[in-house]
């Protein structure tokens, strides 16, 4: 049950884009069409799970024993960059169809702060490896959900009459603001569920 609450919290209550402000660049950049938004969401989910599964053991079995926790940022970003590169090469060879679907999004992911953010978050929250994996997948779903909703609204905005000064980014940000407002409606349900099922 606690896992289900964690998933709900990560997707709706603490949505990574709309409540935590991570991954805004791809959120604004590749959200003009629903298809591309879904593709990006898939790529992020894939890399996020992988990156968390790799960085978690590195932190606890390499950095902590040698007291190198202060190197976390440097080590993580290098590992993630290398990982993305490797995933790209492997996918290209073994799964060309998936590669062409994720294609352009993969290199962009290295500088996507959601990946590094989640990898650091699971350490800060002191999650176990399994919890970290669940958290990563749920967060990625939250990211995809926000992306797809946002892209759907933007497709409609394309054809409507927007005041000149608000065209482009300002109107997109405004939509994001309204979406965030809508997502605020979920705030607190994770705590209510915890009380309901007596989980600390």
């Amino acid at each position: 049950m606690s896992y289900i609450i964690m998933i709900i919290a990560a997707i709706f209550v603490n949505n990574i884009v709309l409540a935590q402000f991570l991954g805004i660049c791809p959120f604004l950049g590749v959200s003009k069409k629903v298809d591309t938004a879904a593709g990006m969401g898939m790529a992020v989910a894939f890399v996020m799970l992988l990156a968390t599964l790799v960085t978690w053991p590195i932190y606890y079995y390499v950095l902590v024993p040698y007291e190198l926790q202060f190197m976390q940022t440097i080590v993580y970003i290098l590992v993630i960059a290398a990982l993305v590169q490797m995933v790209e090469i492997i996918l290209k060879k073994s799964m060309p169809s998936l590669y062409s679907a994720l294609g352009v999004f993969l290199p962009l992911i290295t500088t996507n702060c959601t990946i590094l953010g989640v990898a650091i978050n699971v350490i800060n929250f002191e999650y176990s490896l399994l919890e970290s994996a669940v958290y990563a997948v749920a967060t990625a779903f939250g990211f995809s959900l926000a992306m797809i909703l946002f892209a759907g609204i933007r497709e409609q905005i394309e054809v409507s009459d927007v005041p000149k000064g608000m065209k482009g980014t300002p109107i997109a940000l405004l939509i994001a603001g309204l979406l965030a407002l809508a997502f605020m409606g979920f705030s607190g349900i994770d705590n209510t569920l915890k009380v309901m099922f007596n989980i600390g």
Partner: protein
């Protein structure tokens, strides 16, 4: 371009927040008050200047194929430096900025300037570019933070201007960040990019 021209270019024509729309995550995530916005801006500026200086000095020696990983290592080194300094001397700031300090590494502004400016220009010019872009970022974040703090709590830099119960808390919370930035960038567009 003169040194001053480079700085002003970063402030207005290539303002990272309002014009280039880079580094949106810290822009939205840390501007719940003017002070937080300013400290985030300054932390990024320090990294930006130092990274620009070092990258412009060593860019010639880095093979083209591995230049991005090399830049990232340089940037990550300086970010760690800033992170440790903040933890030691300004623990309060470190706490309120939280995860956004290590995330300066993936701030597109820093890597973007390394790629588009520092690797092609001299050390001093790159330092000026770092100052200009850094100041542009800091000012943008401070303005955004001040607007949100004022609308949300009726204070600026913690100084109460409006009566006690003034303010719509939404502006301090997540939605306010998007909405305030939307209107500010519309105003900036109107003023500077006709």
């Amino acid at each position: 371009m003169s040194k001053l021209g480079i700085i002003i270019n970063g402030l207005i024509k290539e303002n990272p927040t309002f014009v280039l729309l880079l580094g949106m995550c810290p822009t939205l995530g840390t501007t719940s008050s003017a002070f937080n916005g300013m400290s985030m801006g300054l932390a990024t500026m320090v990294v930006l200047i130092l990274a620009n200086i070092v990258i412009s000095a060593i860019a010639r020696f880095i093979p083209d194929k591995v230049h991005i990983p090399c830049y990232i290592v340089v940037i990550a080194g300086f970010v760690t430096l800033v992170q440790l300094l903040l933890k030691a001397y300004f623990p309060e700031v470190d706490k309120s900025l939280g995860i956004f300090i290590p995330l300066i590494v993936v701030n597109c502004i820093v890597l973007g300037r390394a790629e588009s400016f520092a690797c092609k220009n001299g050390v001093i010019d790159s330092a000026c570019d770092g100052i200009g872009i850094g100041l542009g970022f800091t000012i943008a974040l401070t303005i955004l933070g001040a607007c949100r703090e004022f609308l949300g709590t009726g204070a600026i830099f913690g100084l109460n201007i409006m009566p006690e119960n003034y303010g719509a808390l939404t502006f301090v919370l997540a939605p306010g960040a998007f909405i305030t930035l939307a209107y500010l960038s519309a105003v900036f567009n109107k003023l500077f990019n006709k």
